[in-house]
Symmetry: C2
Subunit: 331 residues, 2 copies
DNA sequence: ACAATTAGCTTAATCGATTAAAGCATATTT
DNA sequence: AAATATGCTTTAATCGATTAAGCTAATTGT
């Protein structure tokens, strides 16, 4: 491993102090009041020697690592994978490096990741928090570490966040179903106290006040069994004419169940899904779904966090999503 | 932001030098020959003050960041997302932090990521290299930075790697198709010089030497159009009775096309896919596919890299994959 | 012409941990 | 009694960059 070039090497070669070199290369010429020729020479030699500043030394001195920690709720979920990718791309534009973790919807895991990341001295967090993780979020805030929640937030925690307009888009989407003539709706969501889940439910309820409908809650940890039995009930007892799924994981699992039990969509039963999935393309009829602005969520979260890292002020952002009713692109 | 506790604080509180504290807390008591009581006291005070060592200072001094860089070929591909997750989990066990990047199959992007990661002074790399990226890999090796390739490797580059037994498992899988009575096979792969792609093709060729078969190559950048036209040819001209897809992205895109054109699987045409996809569950008949040992690939890559980071020796590993012919779990 | 500025540069402390080398008792050997 | 060894601890340099404060000589103001 070749010895790296340091400020000292440049200083030595020219015969000036490291201070001058530092002033010039970190763009603080005015502050150091460096002579024009000297500055030019320093820049030239730096280029010659292919000088690369040592991030670590810089971090030690400044206390800033230019690293942010992203903790998504479940990285195996394409929704979050896309978020992760976009956050990474966007943060790179700001000169930030992202380290990613997945809490797998577990508070315990989130806690560990937060600890590891804090030890790594990340400058800020972007987190999509699992259920009942308020305390951890508040802990981060209490340490004065900038944080921006994404996709989910807590109503009673004063933090920055970027989320989708869950209630409105759900209400809008369900209204669209009603407009199509469906009169007996089932809503399947996770049993969760998270605001985005409550909002989606409220959106459903607001839209269905005039018709018959049922709300079913699945426990995340036992979703496999519970989803199956829930759909059984919906098909055989409630005899709903359409199911509304509150998340993409529920949508995919639900569609899988329906397909495997040869329930024809939309003839036997229609569905409405929240968030996109690749599997929708495998149905002959378009799957009605709410498409969240994933890229935008990610980008905005980085911007908000970045601003918060320099200035102090928090920011809350609610983005609109889009109802997809027919698009179907042939491969 | 509360001031963090440093070695100095502990030393000051007890009235010893920071050297002693360092010896004790970094587990080098013998080396520093620290008195038993003093050591005990140091440990106790460290716990009291909730001392957390400063990674950055440590890195600056030791030149080790305990960070590895993982660069996958395409993070939006569930195969690589799983790899990323498993690598992250596994590296955590070794006390390593992972920073992840996606080259999106672009040599240029890989180059940038490698530069960024080297600036960040990662201790090692795990990379699934895109086509024609030998030079970048060799560059990393020339810098003396430990690296382990994953999923793909270059025959003529002497590096550590972990890959699947692509040729054998493809040959085996195709033989199974032949055993089922298929006699006119089409093989769809990416146009690539990467070893794993060549191996899969060779496996196909070895298995089909006695029957009629055709090999089709798709350009990654224009796969949408080319795949469609290729399948057209296979259906209308070659009139194959089964298609073998070389990767999961090709499989999913191919299945999508077939579904949308109402080609019934396996009645009209059967398929054999390389690697798993969630969409297989949406077919009534099981989709025959080769299941790669993703977790194991990831784990082994970390282990190999870790070993390489302490000792010097390279390691090449070829893992067996599994042919899935019927499994179908009801949701 | 003499004080006050200012331009240009250096000194040296600092961030927090590591570690070779040296210091100083006390104990043991010769 | 001198020499050596042993046990415990401190000193101080180091990693590489940042930055307040200080210094000198040239320039400006009155």
């Amino acid at each position: 491993m070749v010895k790296k070039v340091s400020l000292k090497d440049i200083a030595l070669k020219i015969g000036v102090s490291t201070a001058l070199v530092s002033y010039v290369l970190s763009g603080n010429e005015e502050k150091g009041r460096v002579g024009k020729e000297t500055a030019e020479k320093i820049r030239q030699v730096a280029k010659e020697l292919n000088y690369q500043p040592n991030h670590i030394a810089k971090s030690l001195k400044t206390g800033k690592t230019n690293t942010i920690g992203l903790i998504v709720a479940d990285i195996s979920n394409p929704f979050f994978a896309s978020i992760a990718r976009a956050v990474e791309d966007e943060s790179g534009k700001y000169g930030l490096t992202t380290i990613i973790g997945s809490s797998d919807e577990s508070t315990e895991k989130l806690k560990n990741l937060v600890e590891v990341f804090i030890k790594r001295q990340v400058d800020g967090f972007i987190i999509s928090p699992p259920d009942h993780s308020e305390e951890i979020i508040e802990y981060i805030i209490s340490l004065g570490i900038p944080i921006c929640l994404i996709d989910r937030h807590f109503d009673h925690v004063n933090s920055s966040y970027v989320v989708t307009d869950n209630k409105e888009s759900m209400q809008n989407a369900v209204s669209h179903l009603l407009g199509m003539g469906y009169k007996n709706l089932a809503f399947i969501a996770y049993n969760s106290t998270l605001q985005h889940m409550k909002d989606r439910e409220q959106g459903f309820l607001d839209a269905t006040s005039e018709i018959y409908s049922q709300v079913y809650k699945i426990n995340f940890s036992k979703q496999h069994d519970e989803l199956a039995s829930t759909i059984e009930v919906i098909l055989n007892e409630q005899k709903a004419d359409a199911i509304v799924f509150a998340t993409n994981t529920l949508s995919v699992a639900g569609l899988k169940y329906l397909t495997q039990h040869e329930v024809k969509i939309p003839q036997d039963l229609n569905v409405m899904c929240f968030d996109f999935s690749e599997v929708y393309d495998f149905f002959y009829h378009p799957i009605i779904h709410v498409k969240q602005p994933i890229e935008q969520l990610a980008k905005e979260s980085v911007t908000i966090l970045f601003n918060q890292m320099k200035e102090e002020h928090l920011q809350q952002l609610v983005l609109n999503s889009e109802l997809i009713t027919k698009t179907r692109v042939m491969v």
